[in-house]
């Protein structure tokens, strides 16, 4: 017989299981999803919260989705607050940032209560990007939207499964609103499978160790997360740090960060009013940015939970770009979140370069293109972020060609699969050799990728930032290079852009995706000569430019 039931080792074992459960939910979603944005880009996350919606563990593939699910569960738990509103077997969904959805309408959060001893002891939840949820443009994201109503169907925290049985009318409404109904249905069911499997595991766990031990394990796990954060907070430089930065679209963003031994205060109140274009973020979303950066600064190696984030205090102003209110459109919320994170990063980097490298390419470079597959006649849609260059840090060159700091365990699409699945040609995928990012340590390289279109009447939507103002450098390094798309017509004429919506494409036109190099660190003249020679040998820089920038013979 078990003699010890709530000793520290048992609690630790339960905590490991909370993590394992979130990971298992993640694996299930990844394997069953129908959209490449889910299974390859891993624009998705899974998590476990306590009964009130405090994050206990998360199985995210990207850091930007770690702190999303708790916020949705809190809204659902509050909305269905009357006893009897929530029953075993129920599943809820929300996609609306004004109803706990945090991000934009494409992302559906699915959440399931976990019952033991007749009460809710936890929630399992899942968020994933859906390819199309209706709205005025294919893929639901367009820079033409002026209100959220144009960005797709709003699912305002509703029940979709009641006591194990799908509520058909709701499911049908969701499905019929999509331009890709079958894919949407497949992805929603994948999410349901994921929360169900997670709920089953937690139930077993609570039965095995007892509900009170289970709950104690959850709360002590969060306290532990807080302890870790507070301990590391004491090692950060203290004081008030502030920066203002002009954006590609001319807006000036500002952040003030105050670090004390117990608090990490992010003040974003001095920012422009919300836009009537979809370049706004919700307050919850901005909180996620602060959480991401804080976690990277304090304890990047252990899993995050509610406690890890307790020292953060966020100040925003309702109706501003970082705290949009209804009905502001939010389609490109992720670029705004990333701008917010990059701004906080840039604000602190000069004061802690050992923790924060120079600026990275700084945009998801979200690329949406689609049309009819010329071989199968089926509709295809590509929704993908791009890889780019990261900034240099003292002692090390930046990484080449990885996804932005918004993403993480995200995979690019192999050209071979892309050509088969989407009926276009990937004519090249190579490093971007444009000048930029030089320094004692250099920024990593972005890429150049050419999509040659095979079919007629396709569409292209992109929203790249850091196209006008390239990634920032540190300590005398050179700035990186910009992100942009060059659209090349059959006759060879071309145009460059960073934001475009619903642009029509034709056969044999080329979409050239160019992502930037990260910022450099330190004076280029101090770069190790052997490293410069290696760069030349590898064709990353010409000898002429090396002479000019690095001052070699």
């Amino acid at each position: 017989m078990r003699t010890e039931i709530d000793d520290p080792i048992t609690l630790e074992i339960i905590q490991n299981s909370l993590q394992a459960t979130a990971d298992e939910m993640f694996a299930v979603m990844k394997k069953t999803a129908m959209s490449s944005i889910v299974y390859e880009v891993l624009d998705m996350g899974t998590g476990v919260t306590d009964a009130k919606g405090a994050l206990a563990s998360s199985g995210a593939g990207i850091p930007a989705f770690v702190g999303v699910l708790d916020k949705a569960v809190k809204v659902i738990a509050k909305k269905f607050g009357t006893p009897g509103d929530i029953l075993p077997g129920d599943v809820f969904a929300t996609n609306d940032p004004y109803y706990g959805g945090v991000t934009h309408l494409n992302d559906i959060v699915v959440a399931m209560p976990v019952f033991a001893c007749g009460r809710i002891i936890a929630w399992t939840a899942n968020i994933a990007h859906n390819s199309d949820l209706g709205g005025m443009a294919p893929g639901s994201i367009t820079d033409q939207a002026t209100e959220i109503f144009q960005e797709g169907l709003r699912v305002p925290a509703v029940k979709i499964i009641s006591k194990g049985e799908p509520i058909r009318p709701v499911m049908e409404i969701i499905k019929v609103n999509s331009r890709m109904p079958d894919v949407l249905e497949g992805d929603v069911w994948a999410a349901i499978a994921s929360v169900r499997i997670g709920a089953k595991r937690l139930q077993e766990l609570a039965e095995k160790y007892g509900v009170s031990t289970f709950e104690k394990a959850m709360s002590s796990f969060m306290d532990f997360g807080e302890q870790v954060s507070l301990a590391e907070l004491t090692n950060l430089p203290k004081g008030e740090f502030e920066i203002s930065e002009e954006q590609d679209d001319g807006r000036i963003f500002n952040v003030k960060i105050t670090i004390s031994d117990t608090e990490f205060v992010v003040d974003l109140r001095k920012n422009p009013v919300q836009s009537n274009k979809p370049v706004n973020a919700s307050r919850d979303g901005v909180m996620v940015c602060a959480q991401m950066l804080f976690k990277s600064l304090t304890d990047p190696n252990s899993p995050a939970n509610e406690g890890s984030f307790r020292p953060i205090r966020l100040l925003t102003r309702e109706g501003s770009v970082f705290h949009a209110k209804e009905p502001a459109p939010l389609g490109f919320y992720y670029e705004i979140e990333l701008r917010g994170k990059d701004l906080m990063w840039r604000c602190l980097a000069p004061h802690m370069p050992e923790r924060l490298a120079a600026g990275h390419f700084g945009s998801l470079c979200g690329t949406f293109t689609g049309g009819i597959h010329p071989d199968t006649g089926r509709q295809f849609t590509i929704i993908e972020p791009q890889v780019g260059g990261w900034g240099a840090s003292p002692g090390r060159d930046g990484n080449t060609a990885i996804f932005s700091s918004f993403h993480g365990e995200t995979y690019n699409c192999p050209a071979e699969i892309n050509e088969a699945r989407n009926g276009l040609f990937v004519e090249r995928m190579e490093l971007n050799l444009e000048p930029g990012g030089e320094g004692k340590y250099t920024g990593g390289r972005g890429i150049v990728m050419d999509y040659r279109i095979r079919g007629e009447s396709g569409f292209l939507t992109v929203g790249y930032m850091r196209s006008k103002f390239p990634p920032w450098a540190l300590a005398g390094g050179r700035v990186g290079s910009p992100n942009y798309v060059r659209f090349i017509r059959k006759d060879g004429s071309s145009e460059r852009f960073a934001f475009v919506s619903g642009f029509t494409t034709h056969a044999d036109e080329t979409i050239r995706i160019v992502t930037g190099s990260g910022g450099g660190y330190g004076d280029p003249k101090e770069r190790d000569r052997a490293a410069v020679e290696e760069d030349i040998k590898n064709g990353l820089i010409t000898r002429e430019r090396a002479r000019e920038v690095y001052g070699i013979a």
């Binding site: 078990r2 003699t3 520290p8 080792i9 630790e12 074992i13 490991n16 394992a20 298992e24 990844k30 394997k31 069953t32 999803a33 129908m34 959209s35 490449s36 299974y39 990207i62 497949g186 069911w189 994948a190 499978a193 169900r196 499997i197 532990f224 301990a231 990277s296 304890d299 990047p300 923790r355 924060l356 490298a357 890889v387 840090s393 090390r396 080449t400 060609a401 990885i402 996804f403 700091s405 993403h407 993480g408 365990e409 995200t410 995979y411 690019n412 192999p414 050209a415 071979e416 050509e419 088969a420 004519e427 090249r428 995928m429 190579e430 490093l431 050419d450 590898n538 064709g539 990353l540």
Partner: protein, 693 residues
């Protein structure tokens, strides 16, 4: 006919080279088993092999069946001791190897370091020419630049060339042409092209596979040819077989061409052994667990079937994206938890075990080799689970003072006494291993309660009962000679090749002939390969699997397709089987179109494997094997006086109950209170857990 058959398996590990020899007498059917160990000789592995044969008293001239496994490949990779490789690839794609997949698993860490490519940019060169995904030539191959590339490679000291072109899985002709031309222009260089190793899509993975294969090829070729030459000198006249990562053996000549397939041969032989043993004793569904000194590995065997996948990566973990090698490898999960794993307490008072290991030097504190950090082995000794007077089969005097000091250091940080700390170490180590077992079972839709746990390796049997209890497993089997079980597995292997071919076809009326054609072509290729080595077509057996998914999905489910010509009439039955398998794994199924993404064909032929015979019993009862009693701490179940049995004296049919310990020179079996133990006809130990705890 000879009166006896001598089969041997040798396994070159990092520290030791192992030998297992079965000498089977045809008149009685009885086998004499010899085991031996000698030091691995790093620069001359083949000498270590000959030494161990000598030590075991085996005359190479008398050997009938020789199976061999070696860590040569994985060592060359992890120690970066391979050849300088030049890569030739499709125009526009020289950077594929460096761009890789762009992922950053350690996603909060802004100082993540992307794995460095094995070939620097200046040695990655391009040739014009393009295939479509359907295998149609879009632009012809232009070899005019090849001579200049080769000249540059020669100048830069390239020792091996890898070739990988886009869509070569669908049509390899550009690769074949280039390969022949490289061989003509530069006959002495080692060269490999991607389609020779894999016919699956994903260009980064295939390029990486070709590059890593080229990287190890000169080393492996040199080793294998020297091994053969030395064996021949000593009079060995048969064909040697080399263990592969797909649980089969292959001929030495064939492996010399694509040696990368040896990369996980060690674990593969153990898990194959598990499957074979399972069939022999009527336990076809197994959770197989191999606990060694630094890691624990596990794999799930369903109905005698060991899962083989091509989704294999080296150096991939939570902090690194690693490098893919797209070859057939047994599906396993490996964690850094073994007997030598170090227990440590973090800044917040949380106890952890592993993944750092005390290794062989200094080893666990109790080895007395200067180790000061507590390991799982030290905790097992402290709690009386391992006999302190029979440590390492009596070869080492346990330094209990050192073990005590090490455990007390952990205890002090936790604010508890040494016993509680030691129990904590065992529980955390067990939890880590239980999670690994869950990854291969629960996480893949299998209920562990429907499986028997087969525990082997030096540490498997020490933790097996606790793990079984945690997972709800009712029965455990510990094989006889558990510590050399992997080598036994090699002797049970067939000559086997796994073919994975990507071919996208909608599963609808009219598709039957196309799918049949892929299988038929691949079977033809397999027969030709076997025939080239003198194995007649009638000896080759096939198993066909299809990789299916719902249209638009990415991940596939492998479904066994019964033998016989595949026609349209059979598609419905295959479709139904897919829907059922899918629903079992993921709780739902869809009314959506299904497609086949490719095939997996297993071709095998028997190579002369061992037939096991039951052992004789004298009819003695278990007390004949009783060595004595001692107090053993079972962690969760507290301290009990346990009966101690000598494994050498256990005989078929003996039964006894826990609390007990079975001591073997290479392993300790921990039997918990309430367990029932029975020895089967082959000397394997069966442990039955109480029906309900």
């Amino acid at each position: 006919m000879a009166i006896k058959t001598i089969r041997i398996a040798t396994d070159v590990g990092g520290t030791f080279t192992d030998l297992v020899c079965f000498e089977t007498d045809h008149s009685t059917g009885e086998s004499r088993v010899i085991t031996a160990k000698s030091d691995t000789i790093p620069r001359n592995f083949e000498e270590g092999v000959l030494n161990v044969l000598k030590k075991g008293g085996v005359d190479p001239g008398s050997i009938d069946f020789f199976a061999h496994g070696a860590t040569v490949i994985i060592n060359a990779l992890t120690e970066r001791k391979g050849a300088k490789v030049g890569l030739i690839t499709t125009e526009g794609f020289r950077d594929t190897l460096e761009i890789a997949r762009g992922n950053r698993p350690d996603f909060f860490n802004l100082h993540y370091q992307k794995p460095k490519p094995f070939v620097p940019r200046y040695l990655r060169r391009e040739l014009p020419g393009r295939m479509s995904y359907k295998g149609e030539e879009l632009r012809p191959l232009d070899l005019s630049g090849l001579l200049a590339i080769i000249d540059d490679f020669k100048t830069d000291g390239v020792e091996a060339v890898a070739i990988c072109f886009l869509h070569s899985y669908a049509n390899p002709v550009h690769e074949q042409t280039t390969l022949v031309e490289v061989q003509r222009l530069w006959p002495e260089v080692s060269v490999v092209s991607s389609h020779q190793i894999t016919r699956e899509w994903r260009e980064y993975e295939r390029t990486s596979t070709a590059v890593l294969s080229a990287y190890v090829q000169p080393t492996a070729e040199r080793y294998l040819s020297r091994l053969l030459a030395r064996l021949r000198e000593e009079g060995f006249s048969k064909k040697p077989y080399i263990m592969q990562s797909n649980c089969g053996v292959d001929s030495l000549e064939s492996v010399s061409k694509i040696p990368i397939t040896m990369v996980e041969s060690g674990p593969a032989s153990g898990f194959w052994g598990a499957a074979e043993l399972g069939k022999l004793i009527g336990e076809p569904s197994l959770l197989a667990l191999d606990i060694g000194g630094t890691t624990a590995k596990c794999s799930l065997i369903e109905d005698g079937d060991v899962k083989i996948k091509t989704d294999y990566w080296i150096e991939r973990d939570r902090t690194s994206a690693g490098y893919p090698i797209m070859v057939p490898v047994v599906d396993l999960v490996e964690i850094g938890n073994g007997g030598g794993s170090i227990a440590w307490v973090d800044d917040f008072g949380k106890l952890h075990v592993g993944p750092q290991s005390a290794g062989a030097v200094p080893g666990p504190a109790a080895y007395g080799g200067g180790g000061t950090q507590a390991t799982t082995t030290d905790a097992n000794l402290w709690l009386g689970r391992i006999n302190r007077d029979y440590f390492c089969g009596g070869e080492v005097v346990a330094d209990m003072a050192a073990a005590k000091a090490a455990i007390e250091a952990v205890a002090e940080k936790l604010g508890v006494d040494a016993d509680v700390a030691a129990r904590g170490i065992i529980r955390i180590a067990n939890d880590n291993m239980a999670n690994a077992l869950k990854l291969v079972s629960l996480n893949r839709g299998h209920d562990p309660r429907e499986f028997t746990l087969l525990a082997f390796g030096g540490g498997g049997a020490m933790h097996a009962v606790a793990l079984a209890a945690e997972l709800g497993v009712r029965k455990i089997v510990v094989p006889a000679d558990a510590s050399v079980f992997s080598a036994w597995g090699m002797m049970m292997s067939d000559l086997r090749r796994d073919y994975f071919v990507t071919r996208l076809i909608d599963l609808k009326q009219g598709a039957g002939a196309g799918i049949e054609q892929v299988f038929a072509e691949t079977e033809e290729r397999a027969r030709a390969q076997f025939a080239a080595e003198g194995i007649q077509a009638c000896r080759v057996r096939f198993r066909r699997y299809g990789k299916f998914r719902y249209q638009n999905q990415d991940h596939t489910i492998e479904v066994l397709i019964a033998a016989g010509q595949l026609t349209d009439e059979r598609l419905a039955e295959i479709g139904t089987f897919f829907h059922e398998t899918y629903e079992r794994e993921y709780t739902y199924k869809l009314d959506a179109p299904v497609e086949i993404v490719g095939i997996h064909l297993i071709a095998s032929a028997e190579a002369g494997k061992l037939t096991m015979r039951k052992r004789q019993s004298t009819g003695a009862q278990a007390h004949a094997a009783l060595k004595g009693h001692r107090n053993v701490d079972y962690a969760l179940e507290g301290v009990h006086q346990a009966a101690i049995y000598d494994s050498g004296k256990l005989e078929p049919g003996m039964t006894f109950s826990g609390p007990a310990i079975v001591e073997d020179p290479g392993a300790t079996v921990v039997v918990h209170p309430g367990n029932r133990v029975e020895i089967d006809g082959y000397g394997n130990i069966h442990i039955q857990l109480a029906a309900e705890r």
